[in-house]
């Protein structure tokens, strides 16, 4: 029996108030009422970085599972790269085993849940990561409804949080929305058609098929998770599926928006906090058919923290609508000479140093225990007047063992908020960060509150976009420091 043994999610800190979106755009597209906010990926967040964050949030609950993962699927409708494989970067950032098979899946908002279905039907321990940064035209309803985010699920044989009882996926050429590979925005067709002929046809049938696979009936179900941006549609589907009695999971529309390919997993992760052991949940998602999965909560969910409420509570209100089109590259903006410099790709260097750059692996001297980043053949030592002579060097200097730093965190040693350096969100904040074991490195600070970091502050490390070159579309990633403040207490 397979099941989900860990869940995690990531929400960008910025929460763009819909009232601000309305203030900017309702002269063109009046929308009322302007309630709540949607998540907005910071300039250095994209589906890959958010997917890594969600996967890390799940793996932190299952630290032993990493080495056994045999498959990684990365699901997104907004892939960063057509080539290379996006999953290979997620794999590297998570330091998963080389033998883990990786794949990207895309093309429908259902791709994340479909990947989870596939993983649950297979015996190999697998990580399913779903992330999306939906891009919509300025002033559109989609821009209003969708948000940015990622979620991840770890699938295993044996004990689980949520035991898999059965599932079904239906496929049909129901095309209510399309976006050619070379186009930035999707075209959506009339919602009443999508609701009546799409959701209300496919989802109840998928749920019925899943229940049949599970040997259960609708009466055995306690919770329904169904992302749908059409108002009232999820409730109508529940009725049609005989699940009117089940608790309909919060769609997080008020504080997050629909996170596309991630949203089925996102809502499930959030809903887990309201489940009791023994309760069963149907998770369904629509798109060129539908997928429905039946899962049963086990005793393991007692005391399990998904971090969902904390992530929702950690938002930073944003009232400047223009950050959305600017961060998405939809609006040309004055960046100055410093912002026009090309990114030197040096793909050879990037591969040679992939462990350091993507995995954030430094070195630790096996003799002295001193940590350093990046690792080097000759360990760094102080040279100064007050140091005793070192004596002749051994023919072979002491070896540095690989030393993963991503999960260690550090302490700010020096900090600056630089208004001269180019930044997509000035000032550019950076400084020296001390690592456990005596190492340090100069690194970027990120997130909208980066300028608050001061010497002595504890930080944790996040995987983010380091540089991007709009001319070539190339982007690369590295790790940055964010404040490691105590997480806000989950709401009671």
């Amino acid at each position: 029996m397979t099941g989900i043994s860990a869940l995690g999610l990531h929400l960008p800190r910025l929460r763009l108030a819909r009232s601000s979106m309305a203030a900017a755009m309702d002269w063109l597209s009046p929308r009322a009422p302007a309630r709540g906010a949607r998540t907005l990926a910071f300039w250095d967040e994209d589906p890959i970085s958010m997917g890594v964050a969600a996967a890390r949030a799940s793996l932190v609950q299952a630290p032993q599972a990493r080495a056994a993962i045999g498959a990684l699927t990365f699901a997104t409708t907004t892939p960063v790269f057509a080539e290379p494989q996006n999953a290979s970067l997620v794999h590297a950032a998570l330091r998963l085993p080389e033998r883990a098979a990786t794949q990207d899946t895309s093309g429908t908002l259902r791709c994340g849940l479909a990947a989870l279905h596939t993983a649950l039907e297979n015996s190999r321990p697998a990580l399913v990561v779903a992330a999306d940064c939906p891009t919509s035209p300025a002033g559109s309803l989609a821009e209003w409804r969708y948000g940015d985010g990622a979620a991840a699920a770890l699938v295993n044989q044996g004990p689980a949080l949520l035991a898999y009882r059965g599932g079904a996926s239906l496929t049909a050429p129901f095309i209510e929305r399309y976006r050619a590979a070379d186009r930035p925005f999707a075209t959506d067709w009339e919602e009443r058609w999508v609701r009546e002929d799409g959701f209300l046809d496919f989802v109840p049938r998928a749920i019925a098929a899943a229940l049949a696979e599970a040997g259960l009936t609708a009466a055995d179900i306690h919770h329904l998770v169904l992302p749908c941006v059409i108002p009232g549609c999820a409730k109508a589907v529940a009725q049609a599926a005989g699940l009117g009695h089940a608790r309909l999971a919060d769609d997080l529309g008020a504080e997050c928006g629909d996170t596309g390919a991630a949203h089925g997993l996102m809502m499930l992760t959030h809903a887990l906090e309201d489940m009791q052991p023994g309760e069963r949940v149907v998770v369904a998602q629509f798109g060129q058919g539908a997928t429905a999965l039946v899962l049963e909560a086990t005793d393991a969910i007692r005391g399990y923290s998904t971090g969902a409420r904390a992530a929702l509570a950690a938002g930073i209100p944003e009232t400047n609508y223009l950050k959305l089109p600017l961060f998405r590259g939809q609006l040309a903006w004055e960046r100055g000479l410093r912002g026009r410099l090309p990114v030197n790709e040096a793909l050879t260097t990037a591969y040679r140093q992939a462990g350091a750059l993507l995995g954030f692996v430094g070195g630790r001297c096996v003799e002295t225990g001193r940590v350093q980043f990046p690792a080097s053949r000759l360990p760094v030592t102080e040279a100064g007047l007050h140091r005793a002579p070192q004596g002749p060097w051994p023919q072979e200097p002491p070896v540095q063992e690989p030393w993963p730093l991503a999960d260690l965190g550090g302490t700010v040693a020096t900090a600056t908020a630089d208004r001269l350096a180019f930044s997509r969100h000035p000032p550019n904040c950076y400084g020296l960060v001390d690592l456990p074991g005596g190492g340090r490195l100069m690194m970027d600070f990120t997130d909208p509150d980066a300028a608050d970091l001061a010497p002595g502050d504890p930080v944790r490390f996040v995987f983010r976009v380091k540089d991007l070159d709009e001319r070539t579309g190339y982007r690369r990633y590295f790790w940055k420091a964010v404040a490691d403040r105590p997480q806000p207490a989950p709401a009671a």
Partner: protein, 398 residues
């Protein structure tokens, strides 16, 4: 056993172009301007110059690579020209090459030239320098104001200096240099400023405001060096002699290990210690008549004063406010305006500092002449506090 450089080489003559936004000239004319002045002082046939060192930092967007830009601009007499680059310390590096060549006995006379033509780059502040392929993949996009702002914050925290006090001390540092440059016809910025102007200037990288930062300038400076005997034979009764040159380069310890506290410059302390030993100076505060420090930022000057032993640790900011380093203070610093006001054409700055010391030691500094100084120090820093090249040179009247 090495005996050091003391008294083995003399400065025959120096020259320096006008620094500033030299829209009127390119790097060739800047070099020629400095070179002709030096030749005029030296009174020699250019054919006597046997080797040359050339400092320029921004090769790709400035003068170009290799020694040819200088050999061609100055129409040098078919001699070897070595291009050197050591961040903002390149000017001293060119001087060191020329001095070592003479000291070795390989040549009798050598030339060092530093030049930078920054105002053809379009940048406010220094353009980003190339850092190879790997470093940019993990290092932040940083600027020098950002790097030295970290020094300011760490220095203030280390010594418990109230931010307001540090800001005032930094403001005085810049005020003093502005006042000094007013009479310097070659200086980039020749306007006095008030404490209020400095304190209220726009922030560049907290706590460094606009007046805490030196300008980006075009300019060139050069030195002709020879043996003391030849200098005397050419008419210099008391030639300026090189007493010490020390250069220390970070090996990565400060930026990779957490032992360094960020509140001082490690290389400067070592270079100064070695330079005083090389020059035979026991008490630099008593011995030195003036200092030209690498005041790329006001805080750099404050921290350097402590690093090189001209103020006790944690006290330079107070002594600066007391006027100890003003032109009429106990130890005048940046009497020509320093990087702050003479300007900072990267590859030329080390030689510009030496030029001022040479003028002062030979009594040629005109309106800003400090009596009869006997010993002068230059401190030329390239890079960031956490990773840099630091050189200290000491010159003395014979």
């Amino acid at each position: 056993m090495a005996t050091g450089i003391k008294d083995k080489v003399a400065i025959l003559a120096m020259g320096c172009s006008r620094f500033g936004e030299r829209w009127d000239v390119g790097q060739e004319e800047l070099m020629v301007e400095a070179y002709l002045e030096a030749l005029g002082h030296a009174g020699i046939d250019p054919g006597m110059i046997e080797a040359a060192w050339y400092s320029s930092h921004y090769d790709d967007i400035g003068a170009g690579k290799a020694g040819t830009p200088m050999a061609q601009a100055l129409r040098l007499p078919a001699i070897g020209v070595t291009r050197v680059e050591n961040f903002c310390a390149g000017g001293t590096e060119a001087f060191r090459g020329a001095v070592y060549a003479v000291a070795s006995g390989a040549v009798d006379m050598a030339l060092a030239v530093g030049v930078e033509k920054l105002k053809d780059t379009g940048f406010a502040g220094l353009p980003p320098a190339s850092r190879g392929t790997f470093a940019p993949m993990y290092l932040p996009t940083h600027t020098n104001p950002g790097n030295f702002a970290q020094l300011a914050r760490a220095y203030g925290a280390r010594h418990g200096i109230a931010p307001h006090d540090l800001k005032r001390a930094m403001a005085h540092t810049s005020m003093k240099s502005h006042a000094n440059a007013v009479t310097n016809k070659n200086a980039h910025l020749r306007k006095a400023i008030t404490m209020e102007q400095a304190l209220n200037a726009p922030m560049v990288a907290d706590p460094l405001g606009l007046f805490d930062c030196c300008p980006v300038s075009d300019g060139a400076a050069c030195a002709i060096v020879t043996t003391p005997d030849i200098a005397r034979s050419l008419g210099a009764n008391a030639p300026v002699l090189v007493k010490a040159i020390q250069l220390v380069t970070s090996n990565g310890w400060e930026v990779q290990q957490s032992d360094w506290n960020g509140a001082y410059v490690h290389t400067a302390r070592i270079a100064a210690h070695r330079a005083y030993a090389e020059a035979g100076i026991g008490d630099p505060r008593a011995a030195l008549s003036l200092a030209e420090l690498h005041d790329c930022f006001s805080v750099t000057e404050l921290v350097t004063l402590e690093d090189i032993g001209l103020a006790d640790e944690g006290t330079a900011w107070k002594r600066m406010l007391d006027g100890a380093f003003d032109a009429d203070g106990a130890l005048p610093c940046q009497v020509d305006g320093g990087l702050k006001c003479f300007g900072h054409p990267v590859g030329a700055s080390g030689l510009r500092m030496l030029y001022e010391c040479w003028l002062q030691l030979t009594g040629q500094a005109g309106a800003r002449q400090l009596g009869a100084p006997s010993l002068a120090l230059t401190h030329n820093l390239g890079g960031a506090p956490a990773q840099n090249v630091c050189s200290i040179t000491i010159l003395g009247a014979d």
